[in-house]
Symmetry: C2
Subunit: 401 residues, 2 copies
């Protein structure tokens, strides 16, 4: 990516001058176009055109329109992604759909350490259906071989691990699952928009994600669901009216819409979807490959800065150094990680803490500068040297860290 | 309600000068404070304070804060309502929770003609669990006696019917269900904010609703779920991380939060919730009883105008004339209902059509004037007399009607 293109992209975000924002892996920054998009949706469409907007402003198709914007970033064909609900609910729908598609098997296989909500959802399904119909087993990534997946109905896995930032081999693991007769669901929350993804080429069965991280859709922005077109018969276990073949005919029985629309549940927030759409429009100007290249330069710069700094003695890198195994964040472990994370934030370097001793530095190639990576390490070195993190004000844990 | 109070309330909405908006039962009008609330949430909180806003602006509690705003309108105790997901998903959670609470029974009882999404959800659960564990039966309202509910685990019913505008006797039907050993879930989509509701006094087990109709939360605004505190052990079948007892500890096993928070799934849209909160703040200035009284005057005025007009010969009222059985809309059936509904809209009277031959006139006591009721009938009379609805442009059905 040229410097000129990067500056053009960065200029599209509202970023506080006094902060180095390295938490775009948790909440992406505000696109400058989002407020105007929201004003158009709220004041002109809702306010003036009112109920007619479902037709005239095509609100009814917005989950599919935004789904197609996301689809371009993950290698999905047209009309195979729907933006709706949240990641946990989409995962719930995908697991139950997968179990129905693979009825001779009952095991959901997951990685024990992955983002826990995904495993809560899997466990909840097992509890609902009963162990006989559905059980959950966990394997480590390296154990996810065809031999070990022979009993698995569906494998549920994060593409990039939320704690370590490790990037998994989607092609290989998907192939292993398929060779074993299992389906696979990928959680793209920490990879979409910053890592090359080819759900079509990898024959991924289902993928889920959220839009509030690297896609910059706003706090708690809706999730999405990709269903491979080979699974056109897959069914939605939460069959709300928005997924009906003729939603405004109010038929007494459910008939699923053709294609991805059947995975809609009830009515979706048009305001929230508008904000997502504004954030995604920024990706029209740049390829994911170019973003991936820049992301690797940023994380490499950060790792090299750690290696070249006195902080090296205090910290351990838990993110893989190998480029093929690295997402768009770098995580370190260190003593006193919590107060140090709070001191970093107080010094303008916005990071986050994950128990028990992890600090995550997330890099968004759309707006993080190379100097953000080096400056963050300098501030960390200063905090360690000055021991300012020992101040009592950095000890108190709030709900969200 | 005094004229002065009404004018004050009406002034809080953006209403197009050239329209008589009688579709607030489908999409409530835009509150004038909503754009500024959204700007604060988006530009100041998200844009400037970024990830810290989860703490500093209490985003994390927003589903409960908004839930409490809704709770005041439906007679719910503090901290028994959560605003999240959509109505269909909340109903899905409620039905499964109810089935677990009433394990010796397997039948979901519903009204066949009610809003179909509710029945799709019930049928989907039956299909998922199997007929042996869960079946769906339908009864007419007058059949919902203790004798007929003896096999019922949970009764699912709309408080106000979306087509006819009939208001059901929540106290009596809830008592019937309880006398039969059944639980009850009320769908408040068409009653909250315009009808006196006492979920506590009626010992309602669960209630669900949406916020985009009479609550003016915006297109597709989130749903809500009330769970009676006597069901503190009820469990959420979609156990996402936001309902965990210690969500930011990222424990490997799910432990439900105490109270209503456990019914959260994944992350909720802060932007969408902010808009809902702005709309609900308007209710601080007026009691539901006063709104109910004004709603009845509006629908009575409309019915009397019909009775006194030549249109009387062409239309049949399907909304009960009895005040205790009437919600906040009046529905009529008539020949050529679809083109006539389109001609009404074209003449500035915004109503909606429901197949096969229904036109719905919704009245929001927060902003509809008595003159709206009389003017709507005059326009209808003009359209019928002039036969302008026979023009081909009024024949074409769009997706959303």
């Amino acid at each position: 990516m040229s410097d000129a293109l990067f500056e053009k992209l960065r200029a599209q975000f509202h970023l506080p001058d006094d902060k180095i924002y390295l938490d775009g892996n948790s909440l992406g920054a505000l696109p400058r176009t989002t407020p105007a998009t929201l004003a158009e949706t709220v004041e002109n469409q809702w306010g003036t055109d009112l109920i007619a907007s479902w037709n005239t402003h095509d609100w009814i198709d917005l989950p599919l329109v935004v789904g197609n914007q996301i689809g371009k970033l993950i290698g999905a064909p047209e009309d195979t992604v729907v933006c709706c609900d949240n990641l946990s609910i989409n995962l719930y729908k995908a697991i139950l759909a997968a179990l129905e598609l693979n009825p001779s098997r009952s095991a959901i296989c997951a990685e024990e350490q992955q983002f826990p909500s995904d495993n809560y959802i899997a466990a909840g399904i097992s509890q609902l259906l009963g162990e006989g119909r559905c059980s959950v087993k966990t394997l480590r990534i390296e154990e996810m071989t065809p031999q070990n997946l022979g009993d698995t109905a569906v494998l549920v896995l994060s593409h990039v691990d939320y704690k370590t930032g490790s990037l998994r081999d989607m092609a290989q693991i998907s192939a292993n699952a398929h060779a074993a007769g299992a389906l696979v669901i990928w959680d793209l929350a920490h990879s979409a928009g910053v890592v090359d993804i080819d759900v079509t080429g990898c024959e991924v069965d289902f993928a889920v994600g959220c839009t509030y991280k690297f896609l910059n859709g706003g706090p708690g922005a809706p999730g999405y669901l990709f269903v491979h077109p080979k699974h056109s018969s897959a069914s939605n276990p939460i069959p709300g009216w928005m997924g009906h073949a003729a939603m405004f005919d109010f038929e007494s029985s459910y008939r699923p819409a053709q294609g991805i629309r059947r995975f809609l549940t009830g009515t979706q927030s048009v305001i929230a979807l508008s904000a997502v759409s504004a954030g995604l429009a920024i990706f029209d100007a740049v390829s994911v490959s170019a973003l991936r290249a820049r992301s690797l330069l940023l994380t490499q710069q950060f790792i090299e800065s750690i290696d070249g700094s006195v902080v090296k003695e205090n910290v351990a890198l838990i993110t893989p150094r190998s480029e093929v195994a690295r997402g768009s964040q770098v995580s370190i472990t260190l003593e006193d990680a919590f107060p140090i994370s709070q001191a970093l934030i107080d010094n303008g370097v916005i990071v986050d803490f994950r128990a028990p001793n992890i600090i995550r530095f997330g890099f968004s190639p759309l707006y993080n500068r190379m100097s953000d990576a080096t400056a963050a390490v300098k501030v960390l070195a200063h905090i360690l040297k000055s021991k300012q993190y020992e101040h009592p004000r950095y000890q108190k844990r709030s709900i969200v860290t």
